[in-house]
């Protein structure tokens, strides 16, 4: 391989066309082919020389990245004037152009209006250098503090749980067989290991230091305590701290015991808190939970299918908890299911079994369906769709039959909407058009007509975002349920169905009428809603309707975040303001993004065609104002 690389190294030189292009840019018209060849060789050689010198500066700068200043310094070494002021925000600042059978890369130098620079607010002053001390090691042992990397990297935890005999001491490298303090005394050192001696896995001690015990106490208290702010902080800590590895067994026991007790006592709030802890543990990038699933999964499943989770089933929103736990379940299935442990199939079996049971209560039924449908469209297709008719009949019996009990009715209602929600998108994909209500009725029974309307909505949405569908599904495969109460407040869309429009992502606030749409659980819900500001083309009006009307289906107006960050939905609107009649129309792009992340809050770009620059700045400003008003949180772009 090294050989190949070397071959390449010695053959690389600039193409002669570049020489020609450069000569032309200097005003030298016809350059001989030989001169070009000679020049290119010379230039390539010099560039290589400079690069090698620049490398020296990089090494002495104790960096891994070569910077432009290294090259400047290398040029200085050779008594060449360095390139002043060359810096670029972009990784590769070159633009490509072709024409007349020639290809060209050039450095784009935009003309900059000085007044723009003067008027833009200064960027924030970068923070000053500061010094911070921490313990990297205390008498040979690395403490687990946030300043240090996690003691047992996730990869290693994984190896440990899947191949328990190949154990590696925390803090030591993969293949290292170095002896720490404990091993140093014993004669069995690295060599012994290689010889295949039987090595028993050392019984790992789970003693916690005093600090860790304190931490554990504080965290668990905060997680189940009454102060929401504290809880958020504690959960944040669980989700990010790198040193929790040793405390994991404690946490998992805490959760499983907590669920056991609180299910009996029907303490919905505490169950929710515990599930949020599970979520936080799962989110922690340094933890690998496989070893503790035997405690966590029963707890989670309990929260999905338990007959009763709260004291007043008719009022309290235990459905949200079930949804949330179901999502957690799906997530752990995706992360940890292997051919050995078969988590997913075992879980599926459990759900199906209790769902099929005639005597199952509506609450459990709901849980089972939610649990199954979170596992993905395939599961929905094979397990839920065939049973839609039967389930429909059962719902019908409750809804239209004699009043049995209010609780049953509520339960049936929830099951119905759950089924509709999950099945519609799947059916929309697998069922060929057209959607005929009668056909649906014969296929799916009682739920048919409702399903039909849902499917049609799903289709309209799919058609609208045809090119984005693929990516949408991509985001779905990585469900990240979150418990942050998302901000709502798009004035134009405040209606009964807002939660799914603005996507209150699985808000476990108990008041929320409906949990977040499970098909789009990704939390960074940046939405771009295109506002058009004129009575111009008809094509854009549609967009307006969609974004502002309340009756629009939830799916229609939400643009998946992942896609929209790449391709902001920008509509070109050509309209003429009242004061501008006669002059050329003004073009405005206004992209309002509904934020969850700080990165893209609201982008308002307005580009005015050159001819209309002189027209009316006030007008433009006014327009801007108008367009911004619907946005809940408006910020200047940068």
């Amino acid at each position: 391989m090294a050989e190949e690389r070397r071959q390449k190294q010695c053959s690389v030189s600039l193409p002669t066309e570049s020489m020609k292009a450069m000569a032309e840019s200097m005003g030298v018209g016809q350059l001989q082919e030989e001169s070009c060849a000679a020049l290119s060789e010379e230039v390539s050689y010099r560039i290589k020389e400079i690069a090698q010198d620049a490398l020296k500066f990089m090494h002495h700068g104790k960096r891994r990245k070569l910077t432009t200043s290294d090259i400047d310094n290398a040029l200085k070494l050779k008594n060449v004037e360095p390139l002043y002021g060359f810096q670029s925000q972009e990784f590769i600042p070159f633009r490509f152009a072709s024409g007349g059978g020639r290809e060209l890369h050039f450095y784009e130098e935009k003309e900059v209006d000085l007044s723009d620079i003067i008027n833009t607010p200064l960027p924030r002053v970068p923070l000053d250098v500061s010094l911070k001390a921490h313990w990297l090691s205390i008498e040979g042992v690395q403490p687990s503090i946030p300043e240090n990397p996690p003691p047992a990297p996730k990869e290693q935890q994984k190896v440990e749980s899947t191949e328990p005999l190949k154990v590696i001491k925390p803090g030591q490298e993969e293949d290292g067989t170095m002896q720490g303090k404990s091993q140093g005394a014993t004669p069995a050192d690295g060599k012994g290991k290689d010889k295949g001696l039987i090595r028993l896995k050392p019984r790992s001690t789970h003693e916690l230091s005093v600090e860790q015990q304190l931490y554990y106490k504080e965290i668990t208290e905060a997680c189940v305590g009454s102060c929401e702010a504290k809880r958020a902080e504690a959960l944040q800590s669980i989700a990010t701290d790198p040193g929790l590895y040793q405390m994991l067994p404690r946490f998992s026991t805490f959760i499983s015991e907590g669920v056991r007790v609180n299910v009996v006592q029907n303490n919905l709030a505490l169950l929710i808190y515990l599930m949020r802890m599970v979520k936080a543990l799962m989110d922690n990038p340094t933890l690998y939970l496989e070893k503790y699933l035997h405690e966590l999964i029963p707890a989670v499943v309990t929260c999905i299918v338990s007959k009763q989770l709260c004291l007043r089933p008719d009022v309290d929103n235990h459905w949200a908890l079930r949804d949330f736990a179901a999502r957690l379940m799906a997530q752990s299935c995706k992360t940890f299911s292997t051919t050995t442990n078969n988590i997913q199939s075992r879980i599926t079996k459990t759900f199906t079994k209790s769902w099929l049971d005639e005597k199952t209560q509506w609450t459990t039924r709901y849980g089972c369906i939610a649990g199954l449908s979170e596992l993905g469209p395939d599961v929905i297709k094979t397990l839920i769709l065939p049973r839609l008719t039967i389930e429909g009949a059962r719902i019908k019996a409750v809804m239209e039959g004699p009043v049995v009990s209010n609780i049953d009715k509520i339960g049936a209602d929830h099951v119905q909407s759950l089924l509709l929600k999950h099945c519609a998108s799947v059916i929309a994909k697998i069922r060929p058009q057209p959607d005929n209500v009668e056909q649906y009725r014969t296929d799916y029974g009682y739920l048919g007509p409702m399903l039909c309307s849902h499917v049609m909505k799903a289709r309209t949405q799919a058609a609208l975002q045809a090119q984005q569908v693929n990516r949408t599904t991509l985001t779905i495969t990585q469900p990240r349920p979150t418990l942050t109460v998302s901000q709502s407040g798009l004035s134009g869309s405040a209606g009964p169905r807002t939660p799914s429009i603005i996507k209150v992502p699985s808000s476990l606030t108990l008041m929320s009428p409906r949990p977040g749409t499970p098909s789009q659980p990704s939390p960074p819900a940046t939405k771009y809603i295109v506002m058009a500001t004129s009575a111009g083309a008809a094509s854009t009006q549609q967009v307006i309707t969609l974004s502002s009307s309340q009756s629009a289906s939830p799916v229609t107006s939400t643009v998946p975040s992942a896609t929209s960050t790449f391709q902001p939905l920008v509509k070109l609107e050509s309209g003429s303001g009242p004061g501008l009649t006669g002059s050329r129309p003004m073009q405005k792009y206004i992209v309002v993004s509904l934020p969850s992340s700080a990165s893209s809050s609201l982008e308002t770009k307005s580009s005015v065609l050159p001819t209309s620059i002189s027209s009316n700045p006030l007008e433009a400003a006014m327009k801007l104002d108008r367009s911004e008003s619907p946005g809940a949180s408006t910020q200047s772009p940068h």
Partner: protein, 750 residues
């Protein structure tokens, strides 16, 4: 301080004038490789630096002119002046430089070695004339506009059929592959230098396509650690490129040194003569230096351990000189003993505490170490009262020092520089660990106090007048309380600061920068006191001597310089490295200093006479870290190849290799008692190594000092005591406090 030094330094300077040219002359066989000076045009025989082999006067003059031009081109103006002065004398004087050094007593050993080298080369020259007709044309070469390079390169002008080069080379390859296993490894060493020189010959004679074909065909065969040089070589495809290419000059001006056993050498010689393979034989004669030894041929691993440097291995003669590696006797300071006892009692274990103390005292009162240099070998500054106080503090701390060992690893405190934006380039701690200084790419130097004691400036002159000078706390009163802060910024450099060093008394700070200067800062006033100009190119590293007053700097101009703080010109110039001097370290006894270079060698220099007394080869990448063991016997070096090598200074041998790091090593430090070696690297780890074991194992081995062949056991894993990963923070400095707490520093790069 200055008063004490004055007279002595003058003498030193006088010597300086002599040593500088003598470096190139005959004083030491190694330094002469640095400049084309020694290689008089053409004839390979005269390169051996002994004056007798030099040609007649007219040719000498041409050489001198060439050298002058070369020096001028490289802006070595001082040297030009010196040379002028010398050359201004009558024609017979140029050889005076040869006689410059033998006067100084300690160079005797080196002289002997030199004589040996001279013999060898004259021997070789006889063979040359016998076996081949060398007809270089030196006069023609000088006539061209750039005589320096041409003089150097003219040896390549001899012509063979370019078509036959690959044939020759592969013929030799076949031969070497067919010899007995025991010889094969040794003879394979010839491949790389031969390859390089054949390629250069092809390029020089404008056989571009043949050269390229030759390179493509055989470059893959070379050892992987030459890859960097091959890359340089590959970019070079025209004769014009050869001008001003430093790497290339190195190949030509310094003979590539190979160590080959006599048997293997005979084998090679016989083969080449039988086959009438003059082309290759000429190259071996002219461009290689074959260091023949008697005895068993070395094994592949032995050879690999030592090779890798830009110009082959160090010659055995180069490492023969006597090195006084012992420590200087500590000055007698009467300890306030009662104080000490009190403290010992205050601490828990009285008998335990006493013991190490006694050891300390014992070693101090012991007779002068036979390996130690004379106390006055190098004039050292006298101790001031404050220094004595500091020594007492040091001893007190030393009694509380933790004994480290494999079962008692040090705690590591990591100082992270936050918001450094990839700009932290150098760090240093004071010996008492109270201050930390950082050099930055934005040309600033920042000093922090890591104790609660804040940094204060001295009051202005006007305010100082008002102070009662008789009062007891006058030292406290001169400080301006208003300026107290935790950190201070020193502005003055015009480029990234690459080296930084505190003076032992904590009054000064040195910084070296890309702008070619070394600056001395006062930590009382936080202003720049002196800018030492001498290096015209970036200065990569600088360090104060452990006794203060002297300091060393090394940079891109390939020389290390020794300075005294009160002289604006260097006292010594250590030249000999073939590439940038990347790091510099003083020996604990201040009589020697070690320099690491990107030519992948480490050299040890005698401060007294400027001689190079050791050349250590074996690293496969530029050396960025050096550390002397506290007892002065050993040297550890770390390079970009991620390996730490251990050297025995007395015997001039490699004694250990510590493998484990995966990236460049930027810092090395021995614990205060020398039991633990800590290494910090770009791979974000601090690693601790069992230095005691590494050195003990060696002493039980029978020393093969005579041959200089090392058998390295691969025991890195046993010696590694711990690996501590930081969070994306490359470790660029390490420091053991007086109590053996390890401090590490680096910039957090999220």
């Amino acid at each position: 301080m200055a008063a004490v030094q004055g007279g002595l330094v003058d003498a030193v300077e006088e010597k300086d004038i002599k040593t500088e040219p003598s470096n190139d002359g005959c004083g030491n066989n190694n330094a002469n490789d640095a400049r084309p000076l020694s290689t008089s045009p053409g004839s390979g025989a005269s390169a051996g630096s002994n004056a007798s082999a030099a040609a007649g006067p007219p040719e000498d003059q041409q050489t001198l002119l060439a050298v002058l031009q070369f020096l001028k081109k490289n802006k070595l103006t001082e040297s030009v002046d010196i040379l002028r002065r010398e050359a201004g004398l009558p024609e017979d004087s140029p050889d005076l430089k040869a006689g410059g050094d033998p006067g100084s007593g300690s160079a005797g050993a080196a002289g002997d070695g030199n004589a040996g080298g001279g013999d060898a080369s004259s021997l070789l020259s006889r063979v040359t004339t016998a076996s081949s007709a060398v007809a270089p044309a030196p006069t023609k070469a000088v006539a061209e506009d750039q005589p320096d390079v041409n003089v150097v390169l003219s040896a390549y002008s001899q012509q063979g059929d370019p078509k036959l080069y690959p044939v020759y080379y592969s013929g030799l390859k076949r031969f070497i592959e067919s010899v007995l296993d025991c010889h094969r490894a040794e003879l394979s060493q010839v491949f790389y230098p031969l390859f390089v020189h054949m390629y250069l010959e092809l390029v020089y004679n404008n056989h571009e396509s043949e050269a390229k074909a030759f390179f493509d065909k055989f470059s893959g065969d070379q050892e992987c650690y030459y890859e960097d040089d091959l890359r340089v070589l590959s970019s070079l495809s025209k004769r014009e490129h050869m001008r001003g290419n430093e790497t290339l000059l190195d190949f030509r001006t310094s003979k590539f040194v190979l160590r080959i056993s006599r048997d293997s050498y005979q084998l090679l010689k016989r083969h080449l003569q039988e086959r009438q393979n003059n082309q290759i034989w000429n190259i071996i004669q002219e461009h290689l230096y074959i260091d023949i030894f008697d005895g068993m041929p070395r094994s592949k691993s032995q050879i690999d351990a030592m090779s890798g440097s830009l110009a082959g291995e160090g010659k055995r003669e180069a490492n023969k000189a006597k090195v006084y590696y012992g420590l200087l006797k500590e000055p007698e300071i009467e300890l306030p003993l009662d104080d000490e006892d009190e403290e010992a009692e205050n601490e828990e274990g009285k008998p335990k505490k006493k013991k190490p103390k006694k050891d300390n005292m014992g070693s101090k009162s012991k007779k002068q170490d036979p390996n130690a240099p004379a106390q006055t070998r190098i004039p050292l500054p006298e101790l001031k009262d404050s220094d004595k106080l500091d020594k007492i503090m040091y001893m007190k701390e030393a009694t509380k020092r933790i004994r480290l060992g494999p079962d008692n690893l040090p705690s590591i405190c990591f100082y992270s520089f936050l918001n450094a934006y990839q700009g932290l380039t150098a760090v240093d701690f004071t010996d008492d660990s109270s201050l930390i200084a950082g050099g930055f790419a934005d040309s600033t130097v920042r000093v922090w106090s890591v104790t609660p004691k804040k940094l204060r400036k001295v009051k202005s002159a006007a305010d100082l007048n008002l102070i009662d000078k008789e009062s007891d706390d006058v030292l406290e009163r001169i400080m301006d309380e208003k300026t107290a802060s935790e950190s201070k910024i020193l502005y003055g450099h015009g480029g990234p600061v690459y080296g930084i060093s505190f003076s032992p008394d904590r009054n000064y700070l040195l910084s070296s920068s890309e702008d070619g200067t070394v600056r001395l800062w006062s930590l009382q006033t936080f202003t720049c006191l002196v800018g030492y100009k001498g290096h015209n190119y970036p200065v990569w590293d600088t360090q104060f001597s452990p006794h203060g007053y002297y300091f060393v700097s090394g940079g891109h101009d390939r020389v290390a310089r020794l300075w005294a703080t009160d002289h604006y010109q260097p006292l010594r110039i250590f030249s000999g490295h073939l590439a940038d001097v990347t790091c510099t370290r003083f020996h604990p006894n201040s009589n020697y200093l070690a320099t690491g270079s990107s030519d992948r060698t480490i050299r040890l220099w005698d401060v007294l006479n400027g001689n190079c007394v050791r050349i250590f080869t074996g690293h496969k990448g530029p050396i960025h870290a050096l550390a002397f063991s506290p007892n002065g016997k050993f040297l550890a070096s770390g390079a970009t190849d991620g390996r730490v090598l251990l050297w025995d200074i007395g015997h001039g041998l490699m004694i250990g290799e510590l493998k484990g790091h995966t990236d460049s090593i930027y810092s090395l430090r021995f614990s205060r008692d020398g039991e633990i070696l800590a290494s910090g690297s770009m791979d974000n780890t601090v690693r601790l190594w069992n230095a005691t074991k590494a050195f003990d194992d060696l002493e039980t081995d029978d020393f093969t000092a005579a041959t200089g062949h090392v058998h390295l056991q691969d025991n890195s894993q046993e010696l590694l005591l711990g690996t501590y990963l930081s969070k994306s923070t490359p470790v660029i400095h390490l420091h053991f406090t007086r109590r053996n707490l390890l401090l590490a520093a680096g910039a957090y790069n999220p």
